[in-house]
Symmetry: C2
Subunit: 339 residues, 2 copies
């Protein structure tokens, strides 16, 4: 909550010279300008927030043109190695790729390992790739909203593919699912414990299940797992968007299956655009983030004021213990707010 500083004065969006010049520079391909713009967006300072809003507003007409791909999987599954290979392949096709991350555990003091350039050394030196670690914020909501703004600015800067990495914990997958077009679940083939640590519900979110480390001694294991998951996915109810989730193998280390993974993503994109689902999904996502933002902004009234926040905490505790009915509790709390 501390990352979102609601400005309840009627907000005018002046086209500040510095916002406009930043935009012009990043649109022209100036990487340093893009970095400065993203730092602005990720900043917690009120003054920066005003400028950031202005910048994002100006950038909006130039955004939206990338294919947004979410990538999740448990720690140890090889996400960094995969993103390095995947990103390299995409740039070899002549496309610029931005690599972002959502890590709600990332704070000012404890950085995030996601989107860490040291884990993707070659990609970090690739001219056509831009890597940015997760923003830090007080809450997942704050991190998610900032990441969305980062996506918009990267798109305005001409990046045609945006990868958003997250780990399989907490609620970050749901957030990522709501901000990407195509969602990849990276997995291992093991002794039946393939999805240990993955939150339930994520399998059904995935458009592509990618079984990594399908090499060497593990190759037959991986093929077996692929068969099992294909059969399992077949039992799921069909997607409204008519996409049949795919299961494929890859070995990021040996650079196998990388081109096929990209082809799956582009096949998805083409099919979805043909059927009109692509644009519809983007619209629904916009509305989702609007409702989310509204809740956050309204609720932040409870966080501005320490007394109100304490009242909120105490009420939540009473509700948790079952001593007061939730709806009644909400009425009481809000009636205090408005008095």
């Amino acid at each position: 909550m501390d990352a979102i500083n609601p400005n309840f004065k009627a907000y005018q969006a002046p086209a500040l010279p510095s916002a406009q010049s930043l935009l012009t520079a990043l649109r022209a391909g100036d990487r340093a300008a893009l970095s400065r713009a993203l730092t602005l967006v990720e900043s917690k300072s009120n003054k920066h927030r005003e400028l950031a809003e202005s910048l994002v507003h100006l950038a909006l007409p130039y955004s939206g043109n990338a294919l947004r791909i979410g990538i999740t999987g448990v720690p140890g599954v090889g996400k960094s190695t995969f993103i390095e290979a995947f990103g390299a392949y995409i740039t070899s096709l002549g496309k610029k790729v931005a690599v972002l991350a959502i890590d709600p555990s990332s704070t000012k003091n404890k950085g995030s390992i996601l989107g860490d350039k040291t884990r993707m050394p070659q990609l970090a030196q690739n001219e056509k790739a831009f890597i940015r670690p997760s923003p830090s914020a007080g809450s997942l909501g704050g991190v998610a909203h900032k990441t969305r703004e980062v996506i918009l600015l990267c798109e305005a800067a001409g990046y045609e593919v945006v990868l958003v990495e997250t780990v399989g914990v907490g609620q970050s997958e749901t957030a990522v699912k709501h901000m990407v077009d195509f969602f990849v679940l990276l997995m291992l083939a093991g002794a039946g414990d393939e999805l240990q640590g993955i939150k339930r519900g994520i399998m059904e979110m995935a458009d592509l299940l990618l079984i990594n480390k399908a090499d060497g001694n593990n190759a037959s294991n991986a093929r077996r797992a692929m068969g099992e998951y294909k059969r399992a996915l077949h039992l799921f109810p069909p997607n409204k968007n008519e996409w049949i989730p795919q299961v494929k193998l890859c070995s990021a280390l040996n650079q196998n299956g990388i081109a096929e993974a990209w082809e799956t993503a582009t096949t998805f994109e083409n099919q979805q655009k043909l059927k009109g689902h692509f644009a519809q999904n983007r619209e629904q996502q916009n509305v989702y983030w609007f409702e989310e933002a509204l809740s956050i902004v309204l609720l932040s009234a409870f966080y501005e004021d320490e007394k109100r926040h304490e009242a909120y905490r105490q009420m939540k505790e009473k509700v948790k213990e079952g001593n007061i009915e939730p709806l009644f509790a909400a009425y009481q709390l809000v009636s205090n707010l408005f008095n």
Copy 2:
């Protein structure tokens, strides 16, 4: 939204004589009193809402003692027949069972077929069973909150098992999942289209997959499907509550598999209570509904006033079309509200 009438005056919960007497009567087993109490809770009138809140508040210490079971499945899967058989079996064990429903499409003019007594004729005449159709309200949120209050009152009236039926559309499963202890997905065995019409994500919510109509010519089909779903469920990540979702057969028509379904529910209950997950889940649900209610109550400020509601609608449209960034849009809207 029109079903929730926020009372922003500081609310005192007086123990009105009629609320207390209603509670005393329904606790004593008076079915008519319970019906009157539920009608009060489901009413849209402001005056009734005050009395209902009072009643629910008084009933709270006497609630919470039932096993709450959610039942979903596509239309045609045989939910009514199953609930009739399941309810009859439970009462044969000497337990009182309440049968409720959540149907967001239910409105004042178009009733709901869920929880319709005519579809459960024998259970409707069973002294130990109490059937109540879905409340109607302006939104799923409204219906869900009222259903929760209905559950609390039925428990105060001594019902030891509460069944909550819903159809597999919209978001009602998520709502039901958040208000029950045990979640049953009723399915058919077919030609591979078993889950046609079920929303994605529901399979991973289920604690028990029950394949219905496992009789006659369909018996081998059903067994095959059971095997496939067992294998598929095995591939899912494990539940945090350590419960392994079960897949079983039943024929509601022939009364087969009904006792086994009940045993699965009680096995679940015992295991979860032993491990402390049962109470923890109830706590989490309470908090979930508190946060939901808070959002609803705060957002309803946008629905009280027609001008504000229009501003909200217009802003939502601009966001949908991608012409304004969602967080910025929320700030603008709220700054107008507070000015």
